[in-house]
Subunit: 248 residues, 2 copies
Amino acid sequence: MIRVILLGGGNLASHLATAFFKSSKIELVQIYNRTLSNIKEKENLVPITDSLEELLDAHIYVIATSDDAIEKLANKIKSKNGLVVHTSGAIDQSVLQNERKGVFYPLQSFTKGVKVSFENIPFCIETDKDDEFILLETLAKALSNKVYPMDSTQRKKLHTAAVFVNNFVNYMYSIGEDICEENRIPFEVLYPLIQETANKIQNLSPKEAQTGPAKRKDKKTLALHKKELNTEQKIIYQLLSEAISNNR
Amino acid sequence: MIRVILLGGGNLASHLATAFFKSSKIELVQIYNRTLSNIKEKENLVPITDSLEELLDAHIYVIATSDDAIEKLANKIKSKNGLVVHTSGAIDQSVLQNERKGVFYPLQSFTKGVKVSFENIPFCIETDKDDEFILLETLAKALSNKVYPMDSTQRKKLHTAAVFVNNFVNYMYSIGEDICEENRIPFEVLYPLIQETANKIQNLSPKEAQTGPAKRKDKKTLALHKKELNTEQKIIYQLLSEAISNNR
């Protein structure tokens, strides 16, 4: 069994704690958080602490805090022999100044209270040395079927790509909802189209799947649509339509 | 049984033909298309023709052509007594100058060769008179569980909203794919996130579901991300981030 200590009390830490605890291949030794109340609910499952001096020994220390807190916290556990990994998409591995270090990044958007099945969540992992990689890979594979080796440069690029396919896509949904609400149309009318759009690209490259008036350079419909939109929507419509028309 | 004649030989017409043919509540009487070769494959199922003079009688004539062809074609069948409907999201009902007219708009993105189950595809329908509405509603309900009455103004707004949640969302996927390819990251790493983003808003409004650095006004990450992007990506990143930061 891999002995793991988890550091952090937020959303991701909470989901990871449950998954570590459930896995037969992992022994979740301890959870640390600066504020004890945030991890109080885990107390029945595993020893918790708010003191780094009480930190036990483990094979892997998983830091699942906010990006800003990673470096400082990692520095404070430099005396530990285990592999110290962070879970951030945006932070370079090199901010960890620990002897043995790595990255253990699950690519998903976690919502508090919404159950997570890690099985299908991609884990992007990175270490300096081969034996550390094997250890971290074993941990990742205990949770997920999808484990990808990825260096810090790639991971940062991936994190940026994730903003487009998650945050910006959700904003497009949001504009769709606004238009529906303003016109007393139930937003649920768009659910099947949203679902199909997401499904389609698992069989077809998004470039091949691109349709619509901008792709067809259908100026008549583009002009008609623009008349229906408010100023901010129009600016976004214009920019994205031009990008689609020009590039594809 | 509702007697239906289908006019058109494109993508949507082909999918509708199959669905009409399969339904026990619908008798697909005939398919018309200007070019016979496009509907040749339906010949075994139902009589086909390329001559409007040979058009038979039916309760409903469904025009499933390109937007530009609707008005002209509808005018040519003005002598018919049946209800004449078009299937376009963008075209006003009033372009039909037929005695009995309506709109029968299935909101989905159809791909040639990809099987369609109409069951869950929303049909937005419109007629002038109540008895015509009942007839058209019966046709729609024979194919789908999701039938919405919607006037031409609402339908045009919905069509615009569909561009955001389908065409523009797909373009976001496309940028995600570009970033992955440029950095030798398999695009499939993003599939689960894409799926979760689409699933989430069926339980949570997109406004509530919005996350990310722009939403958090996390200037450090926004600046980091911009450094990773090419010029065109950066312009889109900047505009959408500003919109998210300002409005939500």
